[in-house]
Symmetry: C2
Subunit: 470 residues, 2 copies
């Protein structure tokens, strides 16, 4: 499918060309290729690319792309390789282009509230640099120590606080990227308002490296929150969840920073089976909600949060609730929500899903999808939880004791229900290769054709991250 | 330049085809063409298009485009015609396609916090519908009664509260548009998170109708603010402005909703010459700032705002300040800022500019640009003011008593300085035709080439709003 250098000799010549352009340290082949560049966090098997290129400048990235495409060799961009859908996996006919040596924060502009950063910088480094300058980097996700900001932007990462700060896309003010033909396009804008022609950065955010390789970005920083309040609530129905969400939007306003919902099956598994996770509230409830708000002043916002919740308890919206009295409590509450990271230990082999649904449809989806899974797969375990304030539902499913796992059936039920309920097959994880099969459940043939038109316009030879997304 | 039907007879046939597809009421020609469709709010002269088409459905818009392009006739989309750069102006070889008969709010989804709305709906109607449903439409601008939401989105409108809510782009969750070949692409997504392939709506937001005609949108609504606080401050230097902005971000956090700066020349003209506008503070200051915050609860947020400002006065950041004690005060404070609408009466013929600059550069720009204008044009009046929290500066300039006005010189100085200071020639008004000449001052040849690649991919025959932006 992909063009390949005809002989080993041809390829040796190309490697020479790359080495002379980029320096020896930037070109790894054969056994020098690190195992880490052979896979991402998806379940796909390892695959060794033709070479791993590690240029240390945007110009180097551009040169690497130009050389590769001049020889008809496909280029697969790599960041922290924490993607879950195979978007950064290079097959044996491609060259992996890793941003790992183009790292660092170039500037923090305190007046503009912006950071200019190199694509290979780990998210956690970005967060710490923002903090050291008195700012807050709104993007946060579990892989923060390994993922890179370039990967975060190219996949339009989400995370826990999208309800307040938006997706990674909303953080980007300026972007620099290398096009599929090796052209370096620099649009390192710092202004919130810039309507001078098309907003080109939007092409590269969320297109999973198929339209360009992000090399640098200007990020919008936020003020550091002065205090964090959180409550864990038990509710008697999903209708009450909708009531609570509306009350949170109204009563907490813009300080509302997370609204996480957990259904009972999830709750039981994590509070009973995951070590060190305990329920902060008593009783059994139809659904559980973690509400978080980030204020500016604990002496004002703390009591206000408490009052707000007490009123909802009195009104019967919330059946039971615990309010965090300390940062340790906040952490413990999040521990219940983050316990999903332990599912490998607790559940054994299982599948994980990241879907989106209109918020009003969420519970009907959970019921319909759960019922269908149980009907088709006796004894199935299906746990539902997620960032419901953003319309994002995560699902973990398996049929204990069955080998091999009924992957196909589970996929069909979950994505089939997504299609019926008008949802999306990928809320935050992207498409890569593993979700391509389901893209048509969410996007119409016309939408897909338009995506292909854009791809063909920027990458007519289909050499940049080919076979991903589309 | 534009292809034209060869003879009047040919065009009569095309009109028949359009009438039979869209209905008679949807096709206006000759003297039936209303004067309003012959111009926008730019200074360009009126121009009567070949016809005005007014389809009343997305399918009608698609059919109209298909018929026109099949005859090589260019189509110019029109919304409320309040644009300032000629983006919706149709020349005599084009057909104007107005969304004025596709109007109305289709749905408000209270759980999702979204509104599905038709493109021809006036912004004010959108705002009122949101309010009636207990929500807040974050977009607001002076033309609210006339402009349409389709136009707001296609130009990525800004306005007064971008610092808090972002541009029009940030309001859009889903979009439906007609492509230049007449294909209707519907992506009426309601979810905040949807990473299933390319985010196609970004193509149509801010591209001024050159890549597609927006027909419907799903907007993200916000909670209604519970209270509004405002202060008008006099400061001794621009460095103090930067201090105040940093303090506002930190101390007010996400409730900060506007940060408007006015330089002394502006201040003097509006407080001394515009009727019914009075300065709420005494003395002369180096620069004036209007700070606004929208809170959830007046009893908590009001005193907090007052305390915050008092601390800044004590610390010497603010030399003098008046805090609004009522909504009437808030209105009066905004009156000083909105008095620019009266400049036609006060200044006579003048030019208006909408540029963007990195916030730290803003005052150096004002000084350099003002000095250069004064050096070249004795007696010049140049007033500087704007949404500085967003990096957006407005300028009004004229040379009183001189006819014709030295338009070329003023343009050259102002945009030349923008280029030197790394700003943008259009922060919120777009490019249309009147700013095309200056686009290269802000965008590199590589950026412009990429814009042309995207345009050619979607509109290879250059028949949708040709000659605009690029």
């Amino acid at each position: 499918m992909l063009p390949k250098p005809e002989t080993a000799e041809d390829f040796a010549g190309i490697v020479e060309e790359l080495r002379s352009a980029l320096g020896d340290a930037a070109v790894l082949v054969g056994d020098d290729i690190p195992a880490r560049n052979e896979r991402d966090w998806s379940p796909l098997p390892a695959s060794r690319p033709l070479a791993v290129l590690r240029p240390d400048s945007p110009e180097g990235v551009a040169a690497a792309v130009r050389i590769c495409v001049s020889h008809d060799i496909a280029v697969v961009p790599q960041g922290g390789l924490t993607g879950l859908c195979g978007g950064a996996r290079a097959d044996g006919a491609s060259v992996a282009l890793s941003l790992e040596r183009f790292v660092g924060v170039e500037e923090i502009d305190a007046a503009a509230g912006t950071m200019t950063v190199r694509a290979g910088t780990p998210l956690e480094t970005v967060q710490r640099a923002a903090e050291a300058a008195g700012f807050f980097c709104a993007l946060d996700l579990g892989a923060r120590g390994s993922c890179t900001i370039g990967g975060n932007l190219s996949t339009n990462a989400g995370g826990n606080r999208v309800i307040r700060y938006g997706m990674a896309r909303e953080m980007v003010l300026g972007l620099e990227a290398v096009l599929p033909d090796g052209t370096l396009v620099s649009s390192l804008n710092k202004m919130m308002k810039n309507n001078a022609g098309y907003d080109l950065k939007q092409l590269f955010v969320g297109s999973e490296g198929t339209l360009g390789i992000i090399t640098r970005a200007v990020l919008r920083l936020h003020p550091q929150p002065g205090c964090t309040m959180a409550a864990l609530c038990g509710l008697s129905s999903y209708d009450k969840v909708l009531e609570l969400l509306a009350a949170a939007r109204r009563g907490l306003g813009p300080i509302l920073s997370a609204f996480e919902v957990m259904w009972p099956d999830y709750w039981e598994v994590v509070t009973r089976q995951v070590p060190n996770v305990r329920s902060p509230i008593g009783g059994d409830h139809a659904v559980y909600v973690l509400v978080e708000a980030q204020g500016t002043d604990a002496t004002v916002d703390g009591p206000r949060f408490q009052d707000w919740l007490e009123q909802l308890a009195e009104a019967g919206t919330v059946a039971d609730a615990a309010v965090a009295q300390s940062l340790a409590d906040v952490k413990a509450f999040w521990g219940v929500r983050d316990a999903c990271a332990e599912f490998n230990q607790v559940l054994g082999r299982h599948q994980s899903f990241d879907i989106g649904l209109p918020i009003a449809e969420m519970n009907r989806y959970v019921e319909a999808c759960g019922a269908e899974l149980r009907a088709q797969l006796p004894g199935v375990v299906a746990l539902f939880y997620g960032h419901i304030g953003d319309g994002n539902l995560h699902i973990v499913a398996c049929q204990p004791g069955v080998e091999p796992q009924p992957k196909e059936t589970i996929d069909e039920v979950i994505y089939g229900c997504v299609r019926r309920f008008g949802g999306t097959v990928s809320a935050e994880h992207g498409i890569g290769t593993t979700k391509k099969r389901w893209l048509g459940y969410t996007r119409s043939p016309i939408e897909l054709a338009l995506m292909r038109t854009v791809k063909a316009a920027l990458d007519p030879r289909n050499l940049l991250n080919p076979g991903k997304v589309l």
